[in-house]
């Protein structure tokens, strides 16, 4: 026996269910939700033909042919059953392995061995860095950090290859990209610009502070570089591409990335060479606690920070516009 509510549409249960599913927006109508009309842009529209549109209209009919659909349905069913079996099996196996691990926070666990003790006891004397983790990744294990900066650089190059639209070769695609980018873009939005006026200098100064103090307090090149990159992205979103390209265009990004990686390579090679051949190197640990101490760590932090900031910025602009 069930009582059906005749006014179900307006009841709380229906609204809550629709909100969870994503159909219902409680503040719809009070916020601008749709793209601005075409008359706002003013300039003449560029006519183009999407060749793929004509093909894709017929695919939905052609996809449901007889022979292909039965095979596909059988394969999908088997795939789901096997997927569930494998997932449950892996979950049980891993949980059974966890039951054999040493207790959480045990000081006698096998991984707390003499390597960690050496890094902690000799770290300050040999590297001069108060932050032991930064001293470890930029002095004892600097090669790994160099490889990781190269991974960032290669990822940036790959995204450039995939998404770049060159103006000289293909002016039609360039026009299509610009037209696509102008949808949903806030043009001279007052709130965004006032907030960016206040926040962008703060973010960039805070990022520089985190990078420079990487060996004294928590932080370092990676987090500082991400903060500087976020500041640049906010500036770009608030003010548009023309203003940002005055100081952050393609040549600057290329020069900064390549220069930072080359400096890292040469500086650390000098350090490895003099250390391996027991020569006297001109780099000293310095007094711990100063900014200009810890030998090369400050300069390496700056290089890593520059590479990370340029990579994050170029990811964003490549997705937005197809160029840097």
């Amino acid at each position: 026996m069930s009582k059906k509510n005749p006014n179900y549409q307006n009841s709380f249960a229906d609204k809550f269910t629709r909100w969870v599913k994503g159909d219902y927006d409680p503040i719809e109508g009070q916020m601008e939700m749709n793209a601005p009309d075409k008359e706002v842009f003013g300039d003449e529209r560029i006519r183009y033909v999407h060749l793929h549109i004509v093909k894709s209209n017929n695919y939905s009919e052609r996809m449901f042919e007889e022979g292909l659909a039965k095979n596909v349905r059988r394969f999908t069913g088997l795939y789901k059953i096997f997927g569930v079996i494998v997932s449950v099996f892996i979950a049980c196996l891993l949980l059974w392995t966890v039951s054999f691990l040493p207790e959480f926070g045990d000081p006698n666990a096998p991984e707390n061995n003499e390597v960690a003790a050496r890094y902690i006891e000799q770290g300050l004397n040999e590297t001069g860095a108060v932050n032991i983790v930064t001293g470890m990744i930029l002095d004892y294990r600097a090669f790994d950090t160099f490889g990781e900066s190269c991974v960032l650089f290669v990822a940036s190059c790959c995204v450039l290859i995939l998404l770049r639209v060159d103006k000289d070769e293909d002016p039609e695609s360039r026009a299509i990209e610009d037209m696509n980018d102008r949808h949903y873009e806030p043009r001279n939005d007052t709130i965004l610009q006032k907030v960016a006026d206040f926040l962008v200098p703060l973010m960039i100064i805070f990022g520089i502070y985190v990078v420079l103090n990487g060996h004294i307090s928590p932080g370092g090149g990676f987090s500082g570089g991400a903060i500087i990159g976020s500041g640049l992205i906010l500036y770009l979103t608030a003010y548009g591409f023309e203003k940002t390209q005055r100081f952050m265009n393609e040549k600057v990004v290329k020069a900064l990335t390549v220069g930072a990686l080359t400096f890292y390579c040469f500086a650390k090679s000098y350090s490895f060479y003099t250390g391996a051949n027991h020569l006297h190197s001109i780099i000293t640990p310095g007094t711990p606690g100063n900014i200009l101490s810890a030998g090369l760590i400050v300069y390496l932090n700056i290089c890593v920070g520059i590479v990370v900031a340029c990579t994050m910025y170029s990811f964003y602009t490549l997705f937005r516009k197809g160029g840097i």
Binding site: K21, G22, A35, Y48, V49, H50, I53, N57, N131, V133, T134, I176, M179, N180, D181, H183, Y184, V210, P218, G219, G220, F222, S223, A226, I227, G229, S230, I233, M312, F315, Y316, F319, R320
Partner: protein, 87 residues
């Protein structure tokens, strides 16, 4: 402290399950941003402040921004394609 750890870890699991069950892509990305933020607090409880700063800046910052920009690009390609069909 143990209770706080358990509550935060249960929140992580709930976020991960909610991502797979939500139908709207924008909501999935916002839930992923919350997941990254709670992960940064878990790093802090495990006494690693370097990881907390990096995860907060990179996970809840840059990765989520890239997701939003991808969604924008996909919707703008779809919108211009639909206008072309209409005309």
């Amino acid at each position: 402290m143990t209770e706080l750890r358990i509550i935060l870890l249960v929140f992580l699991l709930v976020c991960a399950i909610a991502v797979s069950f939500s139908k709207n892509l924008l909501i999935s990305v916002v839930i992923y941003m919350a997941f990254s933020l709670i992960m940064a607090i878990v790093w802090l409880l495990l006494e690693s402040p370097d990881l907390a700063i990096t995860e907060a800046a990179v996970g809840a910052g840059v990765t989520s921004i890239l997701f939003f920009v991808t969604l924008k690009k996909i919707r703008s390609i779809k919108t211009t394609a639909e206008e072309d069909i209409d005309e």
